[in-house]
């Protein structure tokens, strides 16, 4: 026992890569969930993100490399609410890994644990790419992330009971820092209350609800379909008089529609990181919100 502990300490001190065997292999569909799993698990978790912040998570190829990753995963964390419907089922079907099938303990859908906005019973594809279970871009409200963290702790404790205490301690620490950060963000973002945003896609409804920003319009005439010239020129007329405070897009979205509208209306066009890695500044979950609020405030000046 003592020898084991000595070896363990030696590993920790020397940070020998050979000893750094993670207890939980996490396959996250999006970078924010990989970051959250790492916050809670530290070195005990090896988290891989299937997508980057520069990729539209609606449209991902079910690549061989992703199938191989799912094959070896202990835990799959995805936003859910049909965000990954075009590719995740194909990965799960081909990966032959019963531990992470829907219904198994190792399959975690983050959007289950928050109150989803824009859920609709009106399922008609003429309305575009709609998500019947509500808007899946839940990570733009840090209160949602807090709720997901609590649920994720339960899942991680269940899957890796040996490290339960570590996960609990790390969760308590994260949770405290997160609540403190939320207070700071909310204070800092006070001037954004009542401001009006035109967004490329409906990716920001949770952020808007959180900070009291009004969604004045979308560049996409129909959710999920590229902005059309007709719709953009209508927006030019609409916002020439009424105005809005920012035009917002995610890094993976075409910059031309928002630039075009910005040039004609004088409303500043912004790129906001939708997830970790979306901008150079958004290096982790904390920096993600720092940067979102910083960029929004910057546009008001």
């Amino acid at each position: 026992m003592t020898t084991m502990r000595q070896i363990f300490h030696a590993c920790v001190l020397a940070l020998t890569p050979l000893c750094a065997q993670a207890d939980l292999n996490v396959f996250a569909c999006e970078p924010e969930w990989a970051a959250l799993a790492t916050e809670l698990g530290g070195d005990h978790v090896s988290a891989y993100s299937a997508t980057t912040a520069l990729q539209d998570p609606h449209y991902i190829q079910a690549r061989p490399s992703l199938i191989a990753k799912v094959r070896n995963a202990d835990l799959v964390i995805c936003s859910g609410a049909q965000l990954e419907i075009g590719w995740l089922p194909a990965l799960l079907q081909k990966a032959n890994n019963p531990k992470v099938r829907p219904g198994a303990a190792g399959y975690f859908e983050a959007s289950r644990y928050v109150q989803r906005l824009d859920a609709t019973a009106n399922l008609d594809r003429s309305q575009g790419d709609i998500h019947p279970q509500g808007n899946p871009h839940i990570q733009t409200n840090p209160h949602n992330v807090a709720a997901v963290a609590a649920a994720l702790l339960n899942t991680m404790r269940e899957l890796d009971a040996a490290q339960a205490q570590t996960y609990e301690a790390r969760y308590a620490d994260f949770s405290q820092r997160w609540q403190d950060a939320i207070r700071l963000w909310e204070d800092k973002a006070a001037p954004l209350r009542g401001k009006r945003a035109i967004t490329h896609h409906k990716s920001w409804v949770y952020l808007e609800r959180w900070l009291g920003i009004t969604e004045a319009g979308n560049l996409e005439a129909i959710p999920g379909l590229p902005p059309t010239a007709t719709h953009l020129s209508n927006l030019t007329k609409e916002f020439a008089d009424r105005g809005a405070d920012f035009i917002v897009r995610s890094p993976y979205q075409d910059s031309r529609p928002s630039q075009w509208l910005s040039e004609r209306t004088g409303i500043p066009a912004l790129v906001l990181p939708l997830t970790v890695g979306g901008t150079d500044q958004a290096t982790d979950l904390f920096a993600l919100y720092d940067d979102i609020i910083e960029r929004l405030l910057g546009a008001l000046e």
Partner: protein, 443 residues
């Protein structure tokens, strides 16, 4: 409690304030200042309370969600167990400069449903797809194709399979009727093809696509490099097999697929497969001069697919390069009308290469070359459809398509055909529309 206290305090302050009208200006100002201070304190405390309430609500909701079984469905009643249902609509308008009525590729008598797209306006297959989990260990899939043949609608059972979901150690098994996993295109559904028709080697060697009844076993290696090994035992009913040889275990296949990523932009998939089939009086060739083959048929396939998108962001711009090469070895006896029974031992080759580029969302353009070549089977086959052609059958195709959404696609295709017709120019329009459940597409 705290809120009530503050409300009380403010109320008391107001009463005291109104009751003391004779107070001096300084007193009033002091009181005003105090009131303001109280008010701002009160507001910040209320905001704090609201914030804590929001967090508590989130936590409570999380707790209640956490209590739900993970597979909880929102619908109630028996309808909650309905499978996902989708319907695919396809149709073509095709024009040939020659006459496609007598379309035949010299040296490669087609079997099964292989052949050119019907001339003129026509409905393609209408497919109904249903799938759902059976229970915690099985999932099932049905594809029924409704086709109109000779003016009558007929339902064809295209796929009906059950697949395991709970086998350990990277194993998976599928049984029923399914598209064989040999090659790259063979198990791809018609509506996911990049061109309206199958390339020549698929037409000549697999009668379009090999679908059969049987059992498939797959194993996925626990490595970061994608490595899938598998095999199938098939009844041997369909081309290139026939007659359910070997007591109804007529064909078997082996396959290996590898794949991975190269940097952030590219990913690849490569594979090899072998199909071994037994044929008993297998029908091929044209209706008036049918040919019958009895013997062994082996098909060896190698394929490679490369996909590229800037930063891996597939939606805006992407590029796909895809190629397959096949070798078929048949050894047996051919006979037919106008053909004396003769031994046939021939190797044939087929390949295609295609590239498809999506420069902007919705629009794609692509090109494809497909070709066949064969050894001469010998003088016994001179004058028959099996005699090797003077020049290798070959086609060149280009296409452009537009997809309004993931669910609709319109395609224009041009093919220069030097395979079944000499120097034929073929123009076609195709539509592919889908309603119902959102399918997930494989790589």
């Amino acid at each position: 409690m705290r809120v009530d206290f503050f409300k009380g305090a403010i109320l008391a302050l107001f009463i005291g304030f109104s009751g003391d009208l004779m107070a001096e200006d300084t007193d009033i100002q002091t009181l005003r200042a105090e009131l303001l201070e109280l008010r701002s304190d009160y507001e910040s405390r209320i905001a704090d309370l609201e914030r804590r309430l929001a967090i508590a609500e989130q936590n409570a909701m999380q707790a209640s969600y956490g209590a739900l079984p993970t597979a909880a469905a929102s619908a109630s009643g028996n309808a909650a167990f309905n499978p996902a249902i989708g319907v695919i609509f396809t149709g073509n308008a095709w024009n040939y400069s020659g006459d496609p009525e007598g379309y035949a590729v010299q040296g490669f008598p087609y079997g099964g449903e292989a052949g050119p797209i019907s001339e003129g306006l026509g409905l393609g297959e209408t497919e109904i797809i249903m799938n759902a989990n059976v229970d915690d260990k099985f999932t099932a899939w049905l594809t029924a194709a409704i086709a109109v043949e000779d003016g009558e609608a007929a339902i064809e059972l295209e796929e009906a399979w059950v697949e395991t979901t709970a086998l350990p150690a990277g194993f998976g098994a599928k049984f029923g009727r399914f598209f064989s996993k040999i090659g790259y295109l063979n198990d791809k559904h018609t509506h996911t093809w990049d061109f309206a028709d199958q390339p020549l080697p698929y037409q000549a060697f697999l009668a379009g696509q090999l679908v059969d009844d049987g059992l498939q076993l797959r194993w996925l290696a626990p490595t970061d490099l994608y490595l899938e090994l598998g095999g199938e035992a098939l009844s041997g009913t369909n081309y290139p097999a026939s007659g359910r040889g070997n007591s109804g275990a007529g064909s078997y296949s082996l396959f290996a697929n590898f794949g991975g990523d190269v940097g952030r932009n590219s990913s690849w998939l490569a594979g090899v497969s072998l199909l071994d089939a037994a044929a008993t009086e297998r029908l091929s060739g044209d209706e008036d001069n049918p040919l019958f083959f009895s013997g062994d048929s082996q098909l060896l396939t190698a394929q490679f697919v490369w996909k590229w998108a800037a930063d891996g962001n597939w939606r805006d711009r992407n590029f796909v390069l895809q190629a397959e090469i096949m070798r078929r070895s048949e050894d047996g006896l051919y006979e037919g009308i106008g053909l004396a029974p003769a031994l046939y031992d021939v190797d044939q080759y087929g390949w295609y290469a295609q590239a498809v580029y999506q420069p902007v969302p919705r629009w794609r353009v692509g090109g494809r070359i497909d070709a066949l070549s064969t050894d001469n089977p010998g003088p016994a086959f001179d004058g028959s459809l099996l005699e090797a052609p003077d020049s290798d059958p070959r086609r060149y195709s280009i296409m452009a398509d537009w997809a309004n959404s993931e669910f609709s696609r319109l395609r224009l295709q041009y093919t220069r055909d030097d395979a079944g017709l000499a120097g034929d120019n073929q123009w076609g329009l195709q539509y592919i529309h889908a309603i119902g459940a959102h399918g997930a597409h494989t790589f």
